[in-house]
């Protein structure tokens, strides 16, 4: 359980980091908090030649409200976003969901953008980005681009990032007036990988439900009030989950139906 040898780079500026990415391509990996990457390196599931540590870059440590979204810089930890005083007001779903991301001890290092880049099918932040219709701001030496949530996560632990690109910020749209949200998940131990995670955001017309942990990427569906059991059941089947060591596909469908119902009711009851 020790990582393979790698060069360690600690750039002083984002420009230096991007130049190194451009030079090393696939051989380099960005490390912010390292709470997923270092574990994968210890297990030798990842063996980068160069580890580019961006944790010290002050320009990536910002949380801002801009363009109708909360912009979270690539250096911001999950604990920092959770502790941001405006979070519950501007995007309550994130305030509800972040306590489920890893543990107290990993949120202290793990970053919001790192979790998106890692793109684990059972992780909560990619689900939040998909459910809220957010995007990521990506840079490379060639320029920048903005990638929508649905285009960003292309498969299990696979994103649309090119080898020389890095996420510099994630953008979660601000909560709209007269909406409500809810989040819940089932895992073997609080903070472990979700067997099923369900989030919901609704308004007077309907509710958008998002599910993680079942398919390779988060599944999202828009439903109108009143939400029938049949609609929830169709959605549970449409995700196409498989049996694995944690749960059967059938159990996962049952969780989607039951937790789905709970979070939908919670949203409904919380609506003004």
């Amino acid at each position: 359980m020790k990582p393979a040898a790698f060069d360690y780079a600690q750039p002083d500026t984002l420009g230096e980091a991007l130049a190194l990415m451009a030079k090393k391509g696939e051989a380099a990996r960005i490390c912010a908090g390292g709470q997923s990457l270092a574990a994968m390196m210890n297990m030798r599931l990842a063996t980068p030649e160069v580890l580019i540590d961006i944790a010290g870059l002050a320009e990536l440590q910002t949380i801002d409200i801009a363009n109708g979204a909360i912009e979270v810089g690539a250096g911001v930890t999950q604990a920092e976003l959770l502790a941001w005083p405006k979070l519950a007001e501007f995007q309550p779903l994130l305030a509800q969901l972040l306590p489920w991301v890893g543990h107290y001890q990993t949120r202290a290092r793990g970053t919001v953008c790192g979790s998106l880049a890692h793109s684990d099918p059972s992780s909560e932040l990619p689900l939040a980005l998909a459910l809220l219709g957010g995007d990521v701001f990506v840079r490379s030496q060639r320029g920048h681009r903005i990638i929508n949530a649905e285009d960003f996560q292309v498969g299990m632990m696979a994103t649309a990032l090119e080898a020389d690109e890095m996420i510099v910020a994630a953008r979660f749209p601000l909560a709209r007036p007269a909406t409500a949200s809810a989040f819940e998940e089932v895992a073997q131990r609080h903070g472990d990988f979700a067997i099923v995670a369900v989030g919901a955001v609704g308004n007077k017309d309907g509710v958008r439900l998002g599910v993680g942990g079942v398919a390779d990427t988060p599944g999202v569906v828009d439903l109108t009030w009143p939400v029938a059991d049949a609609a929830l059941n169709d959605f549970a089947w449409s995700l196409g989950g498989a049996d694995d060591q944690h749960a059967t596909a059938r159990y996962r469908r049952e969780l989607v139906r039951r937790i789905g119902r709970r979070v939908i009711d919670e949203v409904h009851n919380a609506l003004p």
Binding site: M1, K2, Y8, G34, A55, P99, Q105, R109, G191
Partner: protein, 165 residues
């Protein structure tokens, strides 16, 4: 840019429990191994080496973190605190004594990490309640105690039981 080549040893300097320390490390050396093998500070335990068990938890710049998910070269200039810092010249500190009283440990393998998480939590949230303590303990695996003794010990020193804080 600080660029440290693989396969070479690089000097790392930081403070450990208030004392300046230094040692040489290849980039791939885990902080947990650096603490134990290079510095001989065996208080920090190593269980899983992939961030699941919590045995290796230490404090770094006022946060509880996994030392098995950090490389020694990453802590240059930082302030680290480990379980060796807890006892006072008179013996066990309050939290340690409460752990003893409530049988919060049996084999003791998980204990250094749990003590460091609870120490950090106490600094941040001295009035944390049982639910919050259990939430923070979810980042640790203890194969012996069933956690209840640990929770009781924590509740002894956190504010809500005796209203001390």
């Amino acid at each position: 840019m600080r660029y440290l080549e693989a396969g070479k040893r690089h000097t790392v300097r930081f403070t450990l429990n208030g004392r300046a320390v230094e040692g040489d490390a290849e980039p791939r050396l885990l902080l947990s191994d650096f603490l134990r093998q290079t510095l001989g500070a065996f208080g920090t335990h190593v269980g899983c080496e992939h961030g699941s068990c919590g045995a290796c938890t230490i404090q770094m710049d006022g946060k509880a973190v996994r030392s098995c998910l950090l490389y020694a070269v990453q802590v240059e200039g930082k302030a680290l605190t480990t379980v060796e810092n807890l006892a006072t010249p008179d013996g066990l500190n309050e939290l340690q004594a409460a752990m003893q009283k409530h049988h919060g440990l049996q084999c003791g393998f998980c204990t250094p990490g749990i003590l460091m998480s609870l120490t950090q939590l106490r600094e941040e949230e001295p009035n944390a309640d049982e639910a919050r303590i259990r939430d923070v303990l979810s980042g640790h695996i203890c194969r012996c105690t069933g956690y209840d003794g640990i929770v009781k010990a924590a509740l002894d020193v956190f504010g809500d039981v005796f209203g001390k804080n």
